[in-house]
């Protein structure tokens, strides 16, 4: 039981922890830490809570000084107008389609490439892996302009396939699967299947993929949120209201002239609901995915 970073004033040597006084002190310190973390956590989500509160305020209350936190006179007016006047549901659907398909493509390509790079060693594979790793360092923003012109050449601008073009593969995903295969799938298992006469494709589908379920789940969620929060790429690729995703739709909506804060907050609050729900549902997978990005070294 390591006691790490307990900001206790007294030196809690091995002995003091067992005395009643030391135990009470420790409990007090732990209570202090919990209190601090709860308050900090609430502060972190406070901006989002305020946003949701604003969605229910009347125009008069939004202009009130000092600003209120809980609406005194809650109204559904903002939400109904926004739903009636903006294609919010279309944007949510577009975001959802974009993020799911991107996550699907990334999971599939990473599974195939990661497995082959791990279990079929050859000089060619080593070179390929080096290239993939090298491109992982390059941020998307660096090469999105040439990619935009490629989408234009293919006639994919302002379409879902055009959006997907930027998010079909993920260098890190390939790396993640490769490491997972190396650590969790022994060569003997594959050899045994081969001796039993299994074909390579069958082995991949029936032996390898089921064993990679955890890693691929984490990768899927990571990729989903990556596309879900993409901004610059959808902004340049899509150009009509019916093609926007949440991020670009709202960003362009807020720069319009006739927008008032209540409606803007209502729109934002509505789109936050799926984000937050998805995250809370998939938190374990997401944490696993992000955590594995830190284990590169």
């Amino acid at each position: 039981m390591t006691e790490l970073a307990a900001p206790s004033a007294a030196a809690p040597g091995a002995a003091s922890a067992t005395t009643p006084g030391g135990r009470r002190k420790r409990r007090l310190v732990n209570f202090g830490i919990d209190l601090f973390l709860v308050v900090f956590g609430l502060l972190m989500i406070l901006p989002l809570i305020l946003l949701v509160a604003n969605a229910f305020k009347t125009p008069q209350e939004l202009l009130a000084w000092p600003p209120t936190i809980i609406p005194t006179n809650p109204t559904l007016q903002n939400i109904t107008t926004v739903l009636a006047e903006t294609p919010l549901s279309t944007w949510i659907f577009n975001s959802f389609a974009f993020a799911s398909l991107s996550a699907l493509s990334i999971s599939l390509t990473s599974a195939i490439a990661g497995y082959l790079l791990a279990k079929f060693p050859s000089r060619t594979m080593t070179v390929l892996f080096a290239i993939i790793l090298a491109t992982a360092i390059v941020p998307f923003e660096v090469y999105m302009i040439p990619l935009y012109f490629q989408a234009q050449q293919l006639g994919l601008l302002n379409s879902l396939p055009g959006l997907l073009l930027g998010y079909l593969v993920m260098s890190f995903g390939i790396f993640l699967v490769r490491q997972n295969v190396i650590h969790t799938i022994p060569d003997e298992l594959l050899e045994a299947a081969r001796i039993d006469g299994a074909g390579e494709l069958w082995i991949f589908w029936r032996v390898v993929l089921p064993l990679l379920r955890g890693a691929l789940g984490a990768l899927f969620v990571l990729a989903f949120f990556q596309a879900w929060t993409a901004f610059a790429w959808p902004l340049i690729v899509t150009s009509t209201t019916d093609r926007y995703v949440i991020e670009t739709g709202l960003a362009l909506f807020q720069t319009g002239f006739t927008v008032d804060l209540g409606r803007l907050s209502a729109a934002s609050a509505i789109v936050l609901v799926p984000s937050v729900t998805l995250f809370v549902l998939l938190r374990r997978n997401f944490v696993e995915g992000v955590a594995s990005t830190g284990l590169k070294e």
Partner: protein, 295 residues
């Protein structure tokens, strides 16, 4: 024979993935390098080779220099806020792993990292609002006069740093938590027997051992902050007459050169500068890691 067949299978199977990968990653990266050495205005058909002229012009361009300066300030500002805060928070959360609120801590700190950027930025835009925002309301309680957060040249950058740090914090805490979980327990037991306090353990045992994690988090935070765009777009852009002072950042300048000024070659040279910054940061990370290994 069998070996050869397996080798052929692996190549055939990986081919489609490689083709996609080459088309959407390798090729555009090559293109950006090539375009940066050419003069290409979308409207003209010709793309003459002009060597490093784009880069020469870039460093004399006051808009670009402003963008580079602002972006660097934002990136390092985010790092300075995020890194120490994340380290302490991760230590506290790790210490309270068995608390019944543990999942509440994780969830609330990560949520800003995963929610859609624009709605979240919208919330902050209201908080920073000079006339109606709660930030000025809170400050007035302490007798501080209202500040024009999004209009003042310095404060608008501070606002962006706050927003970006709020979003970056969850990632950093998460990576540190993994680091804390992987620390060898025996060292803490030994230092405890020597009478080290919790704070001493944190400072003299955990922090030095977490150096590789700190390096990784620093570089990842810096790299993503150097690509800042959405936050600036919402809080401080002049798009379509929205009020507010424009804070010029690299990605914004790059997109403006491409789509407003139609100077693709020139924009490409900006992208290359961004790439060089990222490569330098990564090189520093690896050299510092290696230094530790040889010691």
């Amino acid at each position: 024979m069998l070996k050869r067949r397996r080798w052929i299978f692996s190549l055939v199977a990986i081919l489609p993935v490689l083709a996609i990968f080459a088309y959407v990653r390798v090729y555009p990266i090559g293109e950006i390098l090539r375009l940066s050495l050419h003069k290409w205005d979308i409207l003209s058909r010709e793309k003459p080779f002009i060597g490093l002229a784009n880069f020469q012009e870039l460093f004399g361009d006051s808009l670009f220099r402003t963008a580079l300066f602002n972006t660097s300030i934002i990136a390092f500002g985010v790092l300075i806020i995020t890194l120490p805060l994340a380290l302490v928070l991760a230590a506290l959360i790790h210490h309270r792993t068995r608390s019944r609120f543990a999942s509440f801590y994780e969830t609330t700190i990560f949520i800003p990292h995963v929610v859609s950027l624009v709605p979240a930025a919208m919330a902050w835009k209201w908080i920073f609002d000079a006339r109606l925002g709660p930030l000025n309301a809170v400050l007035s309680v302490f007798g501080i006069p209202p500040q024009a957060w999004l209009f003042d040249p310095v404060l608008s950058i501070v606002s962006i740093i706050v927003l970006c740090s709020w979003q970056a914090l969850g990632f950093a805490v998460l990576i540190y938590l993994v680091g804390f979980k992987n620390l060898p327990k025996s060292l803490f037991e030994a230092s405890k027997l020597d009478g080290a306090s919790g704070i001493q353990q944190f400072w003299f045992v955990a922090v030095p051992l977490l150096k590789p994690i700190t390096l990784y988090v620093s570089v990842a935070t810096l790299v993503s902050a150097f690509n800042v765009y959405a936050q600036v777009y919402v809080l401080a852009s002049d798009a379509q007459g929205a009020p507010g002072r424009q804070v010029r950042v690299l990605v914004l300048d790059m997109l403006e050169n491409t789509f407003r000024n139609y100077r693709v070659g020139y924009a490409a040279s900006e992208a290359v500068v961004l790439l060089v910054i990222v490569l330098i940061l990564t090189a520093i990370q690896f050299s510092l890691l290696r230094e530790k290994g040889t010691r």
